[in-house]
């Protein structure tokens, strides 16, 4: 898989990578052979994907025959990034001719917006123009294009106007969260240079001995002839200028950041490989103790819930035994017989002013009598006592039948 990164800056910078290795870096001028050169390189190297970094012009005015990249509200105005439709179409023709399936475009302003934090101001330089981008809580607050000779003054004005105290030099800025490291050290004259590439194809070069700030490294197509140039003096001067310090502006210098970050990398690796033994032991003990804790919870759950199964089985067996025993007892009992005789007899012995509500015959006899106000339960007792043994009489409320009030008595009997 060969990936191409094309930065459409003042001159087009093309880099090809394969399996985290830079295999080609070239700077192409926008002359009448530009598209031919691009086609030749891309087709010869059989490029699979390409990421184009565009530098759109942001303006409030509408234009015809342009592609829009991104829209930002700056103050009360809406700025839209525009790219020449003709130029992009030509590029697309080249990519289509090479049959590149994966083509992505990314505008530089999107990268600024992505990397820039709130309250920061960014300076990025091309050959003769500098762009200053400020950002506040609402997003990008200002975009200013200035020439190099007026950069310092413009930067100060913007910082004062937008209360920005932190400035980032994007020429040497590397966001280490987004850096993709390419494992090829190259020898640039007497220096060893480590080449890095951000995820957007924004490539940087780091000097491994931390003594020289490298702005650009030039390769040939075979990575043989190399030269380098140090940091742009103008930008460096601005970032170290006393004027900003007078206004209490906090200046973060990207080269310093690079050095500190670069130095941190081997230290980080070292600390990982020499992790202290007590720390490892504590980690192990912590894992074991958490594992024990989980086991304890499981055991508790088992003893409080699952282990009750034998008890529930015993209860279930006892319940069935109880039922079967009752059933056997019932089968051993003699069924109710001569019920008609008993009913007729009880009906015949019922005194006047007394009604029978119900007669229940099972093991014993229970008769519900309704005794009117004119009657007396004693007469019932008298009528029954010669033939039945009265086990008990209980009064169980009042009932009204045909507008006559009766007192309800339940009499429990057994035959003599």
């Amino acid at each position: 898989m060969i990936e191409a990164f094309l930065d459409l800056d003042t001159s087009a910078k093309l880099m090809l990578t394969s399996r985290n290795n830079i295999i080609l870096f070239d700077t192409l001028e926008y002359d009448n052979q530009f598209l031919n050169k691009l086609y030749k390189i891309l087709s010869e190297m059989a490029v699979d994907s390409v990421l184009v970094v565009t530098h759109a012009i942001y303006d409030k005015k509408p234009y015809n025959n342009v592609y829009h990249t991104e829209t930002y509200q700056i103050g009360d105005s809406i700025y839209t990034g525009v790219l020449s439709q003709l130029d992009i179409n030509k590029l697309m023709c080249v990519f289509n001719a090479v049959k590149i399936s994966n083509i992505r475009f990314c505008d530089k302003m999107v990268m600024y917006d992505y990397f820039l934090k709130n309250g920061q101001c960014l300076v990025d330089s091309t050959s003769n123009t500098n762009i200053i981008v400020g950002k506040n809580d609402l997003g990008i607050s200002s975009v200013t294009y200035v020439k190099t000779n007026s950069l310092e003054q413009s930067l100060l004005q913007i910082c004062r106007k937008h209360a920005i105290y932190d400035t980032v030099n994007f020429n040497t800025f590397i966001d280490y969260d987004c850096v993709k490291w390419f494992e090829n050290f190259v020898k640039v004259q007497e220096l060893t240079v480590f080449v890095t590439l951000t995820v957007f194809g924004f490539f940087k070069f780091i000097n491994t001995d931390s003594r020289v700030d490298i702005n650009q490294v030039k390769f040939n197509s075979k990575l043989e002839t190399v030269s380098y140039s140090t940091h742009t003096e103008n930008t460096d001067k601005v970032l170290r200028g006393p004027a900003i310090q007078e206004n209490s502006a906090k200046v973060s210098k990207a080269p310093i950041k690079e050095k500190s970050k670069k130095a941190a990398i081997p230290i980080k690796i070292k600390s990982k490989s020499h992790r202290s033994i007590p720390s490892a032991l504590i980690n192990l003990a912590l894992i074991l103790s958490i594992f024990s804790l989980i086991l304890t919870f499981i055991a508790d759950y088992y003893f409080t819930n699952k282990a009750k199964y034998p008890e529930s089985l015993l209860n279930q067996n006892n319940s069935i035994i109880n039922h079967v025993t009752l059933r056997l007892d019932k089968l051993e009992e003699a069924p109710v017989q001569n019920s008609s005789v008993i009913v007729i007899d009880l009906m015949s012995k019922c005194p006047v002013d007394v009604n029978i509500g119900s007669i229940t015959i099972s093991d014993n006899i229970e008769v519900v009598y309704y005794v009117a106000e004119t009657g007396n339960i004693e007469t019932v007792k008298g009528a029954l006592s010669d033939f039945y043994k009265i086990n008990g009489i209980s009064e169980s409320g009042i009932v009204t039948l045909n507008e006559i009030i009766y007192t309800k008595y339940t009499v429990s009997l057994s035959t003599k």
Binding site: P278, S279, I282, N283, A285, L286, S289, I290, S292, L293, T296, A299, D300, F303, T304, A307, P310, E311, L313, L314, N317, N318, S319, I320, I321, N322, H323, V324, T325, L326, R327, L328, K330, L331, E332, E333, P335, V336, Q337, N338, S339, S340, V341, V343, I344, M347, N355, I356, G357, S358, I359, T360, I361, S362, L401
Partner: protein, 166 residues
């Protein structure tokens, strides 16, 4: 590092405290379960014996008395309707518990799955003369568990003991 150490000590203290509480409970639970398992095995043996006795008793009872039997509930109820008695309601009951099942019509009584393990069958008769029904019940050698007669309402509730399966 310091946080991890504090966390480790906290977890260890919790485990010890939790285990201190859990151990006696776990041992008591283990002993209790062991007793339950033994008692359960004994009761299972007893249950098998009792079930055998019950099956035999049901066969004898069914031969001796006219009782409703599993698979022949319809025939049992039909003998009353053929003799001119009106069945108002049929309810299947168990000896233990208060569960009872009301059967909508005796025509489909044998298909009612829920009464296959009924112990008692309660039938409410509506009669013009209670005495005729009572005489019929006396003469039929029925396995009656209980009779409730309502003289003023001409209604009789008869509870029959359910016999063995056909």
């Amino acid at each position: 590092m310091r946080i991890k150490t504090v966390l480790l000590i906290g977890v260890l203290i919790f485990i010890v405290a939790y285990g201190w509480r859990l151990y006696p409970e776990a041992y008591a639970s283990y002993q209790h379960n062991k007793d339950c398992e033994k008692a359960s095995a004994d009761s299972s043996t007893q249950l098998v014996e009792l079930q055998k006795d019950l099956d035999e008793a049901l066969v004898t009872y069914s031969e001796k008395y006219n009782c409703p039997r599993k698979g022949a509930y319809y025939d049992f109820c039909n003998q009353f309707t053929e003799s001119g008695f009106t069945i108002s309601k049929i309810t299947a009951k168990k000896l233990t518990g208060s569960t009872s099942t009301t059967i909508a019509s005796y025509d489909t009584i044998d298909d009612t799955h829920s009464i296959t393990d009924a112990d008692l069958l309660e039938i409410i008769f509506i009669t013009e003369d209670n005495e005729i029904l009572l005489n019929y019940l006396n003469s039929g050698n029925f396995a009656i568990d209980k009779i409730v007669v309502y003289p003023t309402d001409n209604a009789v509730i008869v509870t029959f003991v359910v016999g063995g399966e056909i």
